[in-house]
């Protein structure tokens, strides 16, 4: 997949090293296309730390690779909300001791005591946003404020739908569409979930996360399940698309920078986290990725058009957001089976 190109081309920055002030290294495990290179350069210039980055395209891939032996080779990673609690329960995270981060106070109060990391002992906010879908207005003129566009599409959209290759988000969305709770262990509800996805799959063209923007820009997909900022970027690149705020509910997420267990450069990881809590720096991420930051004082650094971009401003009647919930093993086994049946 494309992410492997990015992995292969992971860039080594040597700004500090060339002037003889190498202050060690920092190894980041990050989502694809989620941090501007200029910001990494700036960090290297300020600290003299050499940065290397590897990328992944789903929370599940991040977990699988860390458990598969990559723990100990990275310092920081950027898991989504539910994955923070899963990684913590799997013992993959290192605790941030009080006082180790001098910019901890910059975090907005509403993001301080979050359900997936009470008291922010293991993580700091990176970006937050929603997962929904964008629809090409060249192809479809009707009402898009329903998840039926994805799960029971009108004829003109059949076979032109790209879905994120992300079990957690697809199943959470399907649960909202059916009006059933996440991680339900009710058999009838799980059966309905299975039937819904089996039926919907017939109308889907592809599963693709790292290409979710490209298929909309190129016109290969008329509907693309997508993260709000990524959808905004697709629109900025010329796709005539509209982001949907479905009435059934909205999947929201927050990505967080975590300190990994056995980090080879723990000190530098903390420096990087402090760096990302500076409003100016995290605003650079927001300007690039088109999501929202969780830090006080970023507004003055944000691009003017961000504040009005439809992907970030839900309509007044938009439903409250729901995070993807981590399920227990009994339900997860059924989810995995449903997912395999969808993708077989």
């Amino acid at each position: 997949m494309l992410k492997k190109i990015l992995v292969v081309s992971a860039i080594v920055l040597t700004f500090g090293a060339s002037s003889g002030f190498a202050q060690g290294k920092l190894s980041i495990y990050h989502w694809f296309e989620y941090i501007p290179q200029e910001l990494l350069n700036k960090f290297s210039e300020e600290t003299g730390i050499e940065v290397t980055m590897d990328t992944y395209d789903s929370n599940e891939t991040l977990l699988a690779n860390l458990k598969g032996g990559k723990l100990g080779s990275f310092d920081v990673a950027v898991p989504g909300d539910y994955m923070v609690s899963i990684m913590n329960s799997e013992g993959l995270l290192d605790e941030i001791q009080p006082g180790e981060l001098s910019n901890m106070g910059n975090i907005q109060p509403q993001w301080m005591d979050v359900s997936f990391d009470p008291g922010r002992k293991y993580s700091i906010p990176y970006q937050w946003g929603s997962t929904s879908f964008s629809v090409s207005r060249d192809v479809f003129g009707g009402d898009i404020r329903t998840m039926g566009i994805i799960f029971d599409p009108p004829d003109e959209l059949k076979g032109k739908i790209n879905v994120l290759d992300s079990q957690g988000e697809v199943i959470a969305m399907a649960s909202l569409y059916l009006g059933i709770p996440q991680c339900t262990s009710d058999r009838d509800q799980l059966q309905a979930l299975d039937e819904l996805l089996q039926g919907a799959k017939e109308n889907w063209a592809s599963f693709n996360s790292d290409g979710a923007k490209d298929v909309l820009v190129s016109g290969d997909a008329a509907v693309g399940m997508i993260w709000n900022g990524f959808g905004a970027k697709a629109r900025a690149e010329g796709a005539n698309i509209e982001y949907s705020y479905p009435r059934e509910g909205l999947v929201v997420w927050m990505d967080n920078v975590v300190l990994l267990k056995d980090a080879p450069n723990r000190e530098n990881a903390l420096k990087f986290m402090d760096f990302l809590l500076e409003p100016e720096n995290i605003a650079a991420v927001t300007n690039y990725a088109r999501y929202s930051a969780g830090v006080e004082g970023v507004d003055v650094f944000l691009d003017a058009d961000l504040k009005s971009q439809p992907e970030s401003v839900p309509p007044a009647d938009a439903p409250a957001g729901s995070f993807v919930e981590p399920c227990d093993e009994e339900v997860q086994v059924v989810y995995n089976q449903i997912w395999t049946r969808v993708k077989q």
């Binding site: 789903s58 699988a64 992300s166 079990q167 799959k201 063209a205 693709n208 190129s218 290969d220 995995n336």
Partner: protein, 301 residues
């Protein structure tokens, strides 16, 4: 019967020392990993990836027996994975046939050029393969997609009224496999055609054989080892491919490779099951190869 001097030489100390590096390489890079896979396939899966070191047949059970969504229906045969395996075998077989149809004439053409020109033709065959497989597959995706150059060309000249709709289908996967592994067919066939002594063909022609009989009765039997090697080299990697189904097939229809990848890198996180699927694949390939080598050695006797 093996000649006796072979057995004597097996105990030659120098011979043992000289072979040691290959044994170490085979042991470290082949036997240990495969042994580990075999072991893991009989272990208990850990929730969300990983292995609990307790014996279990759950992985093979999951592969073969369907107990419904909740695991307590009466057991029936599990078709999901059999279908995935069959799909992979069909895809790999078709890819091999297409590679043979295109690859044999190509190799024959190259091998019958003037010796000084052959390198140039071989060079042309290999040039695209200097580029990484992933990049080539992505390029193919750009070429064949609905708004890609091929469709735009055909549409603009009125040869089609709507796009071919190749992308995200099994045909696109097929195209990807064929394109990825074509030189693996051309090169071994070229090597054996090049070694073929064409005076035999001349002799056949002198004996009033027409071109078709010459090809069928003189050339083909002599180049069969090259064809067989080519078929094996195309079939086996096609069987385990996952880049083509992911990128060209839209990740919608699992092939064996993508099924295994999903167990280790994707959502499922079921290492023993991934290992079991790998072992079943390995066993199938081994049986096919054993069958082939037996046929070969029979032919030599």
């Amino acid at each position: 019967m093996e000649p006796v001097y072979h057995q004597k030489r097996a105990f030659d100390p120098l011979r043992i020392w000289l072979l040691l590096p290959s044994w170490v390489v085979i042991g470290v890079f082949l036997l240990i990993p495969v042994g580990l896979m075999l072991l893991i396939s009989f272990m208990t899966k850990e929730f969300r990836g990983g292995v609990i070191w307790e014996f279990s047949l759950a992985a093979y059970d999951q592969f073969l027996i369907d107990r419904g969504l909740f695991g307590d229906d009466p057991p029936t045969i599990e078709w999901t994975y059999i279908v995935i395996f069959l799909r992979s075998i069909v895809q790999a077989t078709i890819a091999t046939i297409f590679c043979l149809i295109i690859g044999f004439p190509t190799a024959y053409f190259i091998a019958t050029r003037e010796p000084q020109n052959r390198t140039f033709w071989i060079f042309l065959v290999t040039v695209p393969y200097w580029v990484n497989l992933l990049i080539r597959t992505v390029s193919l995706k750009f070429l064949i997609r609905d708004n890609g150059p091929i469709n735009e060309f055909l549409l603009s000249f009125g040869l089609l009224s709507e796009p071919l709709g190749l992308i995200n289908t099994n045909i696109a996967v097929q195209l990807g496999l064929f394109y990825s592994y074509l030189p693996f067919m051309v090169l071994p066939i070229y090597a054996s055609v090049e070694r073929f002594n064409f005076t035999y063909s001349e002799a056949a022609a002198d004996l009033y054989a027409d071109k078709w009989s010459t090809l069928r009765r003189i050339v083909l039997p002599n180049v069969v080892p090259g064809i067989a090697a080519g078929c094996i080299l195309v079939f086996i990697p096609s069987l385990g491919a996952f880049i083509a189904p992911d990128l060209l097939g839209g990740a919608k229809n699992f092939m064996i490779g993508s099924l295994i990848e999903e167990q280790f890198k994707g959502n499922a996180g079921n290492w023993p099951f991934g290992a079991a699927a790998s072992m079943i694949l390995l066993t199938m390939v081994l049986i096919a190869l054993l069958f082939y080598t037996r046929q070969q050695s029979k032919g030599e006797v």
